[in-house]
Amino acid sequence: MTETALGHDAESPKLREAYTAMTRTRQMYGGIVLIVFVAMMTSGFMLADSRNAGGFWGGILNIFIFPGEVVSEAAEKVALLPALMVKFFPSLIETVNIAAASTLVGALAAIVLSLLSTRGLARFPRLIPLFRRLMDISRAVPEIVVALVLIFVLGGGPVPAMIAIAFHTTGALGKLFSEVNENASLKPIEGLASVGASWTQRMLLGVVPQVAPNWLSYALLRFEINIRASAILGFVGSGGIGYDLKNAFSWGQGRYDEVAAIFILLFLTIVFFDQLSSHYRNKLVGKS
């Protein structure tokens, strides 16, 4: 006892030294990382500032001019706003439809792809890397790329946006779904296999009941994201409320009441579907 205690005592200054040295290097590394980060942020900001048409300090003073114009014009014509909102409501429905359809199509494709690319569940285990790469690529494609190309072929309208968002959704959800699938128990599948169920039957009856709540919850989150995406794509050229916003916007002053009406509609829609989806997501994940 005494020996070990003594030995400990003899070692402790060395230990302490090593410990302080380690702490010091850590602090140094932390400091270096912090300095590099701050340098990157400031230089990046200055670079962005210099490559921008209007500078930051000039712009920050003007930041309330445009919202001010919109608000003051909307306030003047406040009686017209409800009528305008009714006028733009069909476009809003289209935007929500684009989001819903693309989430649905994307989720269905993601289900198939994720089942095909999960170890233990895959129909063709050798092709797992292929399906994974497919998901990676479709996840990496920004919606605007597909949308712009499809607008050239199909003309404007909701379908190019729908396909574009569905394409990205497939990859994004596919990755999340396959993570969920990996946690599914294999026992029901083995049971089904032992009674001679086909692959489709094993998946439908063995896997889907286990993972459906989590799938649904991710799909709802995607739906929320896709509403925003479909509004943005409308602005770039496909249908929906984004397109109306762009038109109202390009009319310039005098039509800002329309801009205000669309802003309000869009804001309310996004908040509404945010709340709805987070409510159901909590319910789904709480239940499972």
Partner: protein
């Protein structure tokens, strides 16, 4: 033996189980029916029949063909005379005097023979065009005063020739040709992205990689005042056709927008998140205010922020960064405050028991607990914002998004569009890989006791 129905408790359970099964069966049948009904509704709401009618499949064919091949224009100017050969008909792709691609033979001042693919060939003789198709014969089109005369072997006009009084277009299998009063033109498609490395005015054009390597290593200078390697790099970098310099700058701008926006949002959101967390801010009113601020910023959405900010700051990467920053401040604030509400109080108490001041308590008791959540969210958003920055760039005008929309609007540079698309996908995948790598490194580092 007692029947199950005799025991009231069990019978109730059995009823409940039957009801549950019936409900599940109903859902299993109803869900596909509802989805199908929704698709039928969409079929009419999105007006698919009309869309199919409007779809321009010829556009799709041009797009696909152009994305992996290029066309060379051999043009005779019928007003001023003179023959020119240009890749994609662009000024910067024009062959200099005395230089021709191997499928064109100049036979005189204003005459040329062009060997097309699929056994076809064309001959330009001043304003006259002779287009020979094997098994069919030679089509001749010529400009006569204000008219364009077309002569076919059998006198009839086949459907691959469109003939009008002011324009004749021949779309063969191996090339295309058109005759108007202004010019007689032959288009020949060739595989690949021509001039990708060097334009025609570069001394390195048409050299094989091995030759280039030898040139780079040799001391004999091709361009007088530069070493060969510097000249090669300079010519590629300043390629006027593909604009590598501008494209790489644009990619960099897009990544910069994502980086500044995401990191800026995290920096702004962290202190605000403390104000929104129940265990750090006892004042309910302040909490409520900050939370509604987060909701508002998130609800207004990137699109509207982009429009508002581009009014104030004009097009460019700064506008995009600030739009991302504003939107994500809301998302980060919400997530960070949730993470803060879940921190373990024991660690903070432990730090406090050593006599730490409030700031030290936050630094050593709270921050280490939330860093993994914080970092993984921030890095995940960094990747996703690279995609958003592409879209925002298309709206405000900055980065690769702008180049992409410009290239698509001109509707002819599809090989450039293909190039940009490949670059964008590569950029997002690299960012995805990088953020994943950093996340694994940093969070693993955290668990080992930092």
């Amino acid at each position: 033996m007692t029947a199950i129905a005799d025991i009231p408790a069990l019978s109730r359970q059995k009823d409940a189980a039957t009801a549950l099964l019936a409900r599940k069966r109903l859902v299993a049948f109803a869900a596909p029916v509802v989805i199908l009904a929704y698709f039928v509704y969409l079929f009419f709401a999105f007006d698919i029949p009309d869309l199919l009618e409007r779809a321009r499949m010829d556009n799709a064919a041009v797009l696909v063909a152009d994305s992996y091949s290029h066309k060379t224009h051999i043009t005779h100017d019928n007003r001023t005379g003179g023959l020119s050969i240009a890749i994609e008909g662009e000024n910067k792709g024009t062959y200099p005097e005395g230089m021709t691609p191997d499928f064109v033979t100049l036979t005189g001042e204003s005459t040329a023979r062009v060997v097309l693919t699929a056994g076809e060939n064309a001959e330009i003789d001043g304003p006259t065009l002779r287009y020979t198709v094997p098994g069919y014969g030679t089509v001749t089109a010529t400009v006569e005063g204000r008219e364009i005369l077309l002569e076919t072997p059998d006198g009839a006009v086949p459907d691959w020739i469109s003939a009008g009084s002011s324009r004749v277009t021949i779309s063969g299998k191996g090339g295309r040709a058109s005759v108007t009063r202004a010019r007689t033109e032959v288009f020949r498609y060739s595989f690949g992205w021509e001039l990708f490395w060097f334009t025609l005015d570069s001394p390195f054009y048409g050299k094989l990689p091995t030759e280039l390597l030898r040139l780079a290593l040799s001391g004999d200078r091709v361009v007088a005042d530069k070493s060969n390697l510097a000249a090669i790099v300079h010519d590629v970098w300043n390629n006027a056709m593909w604009r590598h310099k501008d494209v790489l700058w644009a990619i960099f701008e897009t990544v910069l927008m994502a980086f500044l926006g995401t990191m800026g949002a995290a920096i702004v959101a962290l202190p605000l998140a403390f104000l929104a967390a129940r265990n750090f801010t006892p004042v309910a009113a302040a909490r409520f205010g900050v939370r509604r601020l987060f909701d508002f910023v998130r609800g207004v959405d990137g699109l509207i922020w982009t429009i508002i900010l581009s009014r104030a700051f004009g097009p460019g990467p700064l506008t995009g960064s600030l739009a991302i920053l504003l939107t994500d401040t809301g998302s980060f604030g919400k997530m960070f405050s949730e993470a803060l509400e879940n921190v373990d109080n024991k660690q903070i108490e432990g730090i406090a028991s050593t006599g730490a001041k409030p700031l030290q308590r936050y630094r050593f008791g709270v921050i280490p607990q939330i860093t993994p959540v914080l970092l993984s969210q921030v890095l995940y958003y960094l990747e996703s914002n690279t995609r958003s920055a592409t879209i925002i760039g298309a709206i405000t005008g900055g980065g690769i998004g702008l180049l992409l929309t410009q290239a698509i609007i001109t509707q002819k540079d599809w090989e450039e569009v293909a190039y940009y698309i490949i670059l964008i996908i590569a950029m997002v995948m690299v960012m995805d890989w990088f953020s994943g790598w950093l996340r694994r490194r940093l969070i693993a580092g955290d668990e080992s006791g930092r």
